[in-house]
């Protein structure tokens, strides 16, 4: 069977339906579209979720007879208002390509791609230095999706001076800043603006240099039983590789462990000797079988940011009274 460009979409479709062969593959359906249009999107239209959308069929008269298609499928005339298409209270399923054809000639008069979305809500922004004293990074996200493309712009002010935040290739919603000076008394102020076709929003955070220092969890945490003493576990770990200078800025580690049969974590209190990289610590475990192994979290006593402003006792190996049970900053050891 051959078809020429005089065939209407309806004809194209009915030809397909009457054929005894199985439905054509997607590629040939695309080529069918060539007979009614190029299929290229030259116009994109963004509309708000829940809004009413009216589309004009190009320069056609208000009462002209037209046919609208949505993604290639004819639309029901009940949605037409003369030659205009009216979509009420649009939702995400309305997104797609809309085209308008003159009644008899099937000339393509108008084409647009409709994208339904929302304007951005206030973005969530956080900054953190896991590589002190080199610099810090800021990362952000939107609390709920907008369903349409968003553009982000970030500015970092340090007093009167604006700093350059270099965007990371991956992940895309992150950028990093190098410290130009250490031990600054001036706060950093970071503003993130998010813009899309339907609106914009922004958020700002202000912080001191020391308030955002938080190292990554320790690496290669391994717990092994001690050969002659089954009640003891030897734990080894390494400084996080992102921490550039453990010599000048040492990390302090806190160790806790919990046999599976118990609900409470136990803290190892005398870690004062075990600050060096890779050094082992003996810890008691209540029975090796089913022991989950310890979880290490290094909130450094260099800063109080991790503990929300609680002090880190200077010369006693006490732990802050509340110990965060979240996995953030912690890591499960590979125990027995």
């Amino acid at each position: 069977m051959t078809w020429s460009k005089l065939l209407t979409p309806n004809h194209c479709r009915s030809l397909w339906l009457s054929s005894s062969t199985s439905p054509p593959a997607e590629e040939s359906r695309t080529s069918w579209r060539c007979c009614w249009g190029t299929g290229r999107y030259t116009h994109v239209q963004y509309e708000r979720l829940g809004a009413d959308v009216t589309m004009q069929c190009g320069a056609m008269d208000g009462d002209a007879a037209v046919t609208w298609t949505a993604n290639g499928t004819d639309m029901d005339e009940s949605q037409f208002n003369g030659s205009r298409l009216v979509l009420r209270s649009v939702d995400l399923t309305h997104s797609g390509q809309y085209a308008c054809y003159e009644g008899s000639s099937w000339h393509l008069k108008y084409q647009t791609y409709l994208k339904v979305g929302t304007s951005p809500k206030e973005p969530v922004l956080m900054c953190r230095s896991n590589n002190y004293p080199k610099g810090f990074y800021c990362s952000w996200h939107l609390p709920s999706p907008t369903y349409i493309p968003n553009a982000f712009n970030i500015t970092v002010m340090h007093g009167p001076r604006e700093l350059v935040c270099e965007k990371d290739a991956f992940p895309k919603n992150r950028c990093h800043i190098r410290y130009l000076q250490l031990f600054s008394t001036v706060k950093y102020k970071v503003t993130l603006t998010v813009t899309n076709a339907l609106g914009r929003n922004a958020t700002t955070i202000t912080f001191d240099e020391f308030a955002i220092v938080k190292p990554d969890p320790p690496e290669n945490v391994v717990a092994k039983p001690v050969s002659n003493n089954p009640r003891r576990l030897e734990v080894r770990w390494q400084n996080p590789s992102s921490w550039p200078d453990p010599e000048s800025f040492p990390l302090k580690f806190f160790l806790r462990y919990r046999p599976l049969i118990l609900d409470q974590w136990q803290h190892v209190s005398d870690l004062s000797i075990a600050f060096t990289e890779g050094q082992g610590v003996g810890g008691k475990a209540g029975g090796l079988l089913g022991c989950r192994g310890p979880s290490l979290q290094p909130p450094p006593c260099l800063n109080s940011g991790v503990w929300g402003g609680n002090f880190c006792p200077p010369f006693l190996s006490l732990y802050p009274a509340h110990f965060s049970t979240g996995k953030q900053g912690g890591k499960e050891g590979r125990g027995v």
């Binding site: 004293p133 007093g159 009167p160 410290y179 130009l180 000076q181 250490l182 031990f183 600054s184 008394t185 001036v186 706060k187 102020k189 202000t206 020391f210 010599e247 000048s248 800025f249 040492p250 006593c301 260099l302 109080s304 402003g309 002090f311 880190c312 006792p313 200077p314 010369f315």
Partner: protein
Amino acid sequence: MLYVAGEISGDSWGIFAFLCAALWNLPTVPALNSTDEVGTGQSIQKTYDLTRYLEYQLRTLAGTYLNYLGPPFNEPDFNPPRMTMGEMVPSATVDFELWRSLNDNARLAANYRAYTHLLCYLRGMDGQVAKAELRKNLGHFCTSLQGLVVSIASVMSSLGYPLPSPLGSTDPTWAQGPHATSPHNDFLKKMDDFWLLKELQTWLWRSAKDFNRLKKKVPPAALMLRLEARGF
């Protein structure tokens, strides 16, 4: 930073100047006795511990004091432009490479100078505070801070470094704040207090790292010093 109120007479100023000067001319800290059990390493450790303790104390004190000053000083996002305070107190802010390359003497001297200035200003602040409870806490903090100054001096002395000379002489004018000439500018005075606490907080944050570096580097040298003292 010091606010020259109209009521302070010349005599009071004289006494104050004397106190500040006295702080500079500390009685000689006895050098480490060769029989002294406490090594320089432990002195440094104690100084380090003291900075951490002071950092903790300051957190409570600063919170209370800023509330006493009232808004906007006690607002967490308060981020005013820096004014002339920076000229009066040596700032902790420093380029990283420069900080890392400081020799022990320079490092200790910077700390010593900073805390001596800060202590002096704090004492000036103490006299102005209306609330008794706050004054008591400030006083206690000042005493602890004095302990830190002495501790630093002791470390310097045990290593054979001379104590830095005061930046200004015993002339009280250097001890006055930038707004001494406008005695009735309450807001600017509060600004000075704000920046003083900020500078103190930053110095304590920095000092922990200074002393941490010293901890690692000094003990062998101290040992050598002791051997020299014994004539080896």
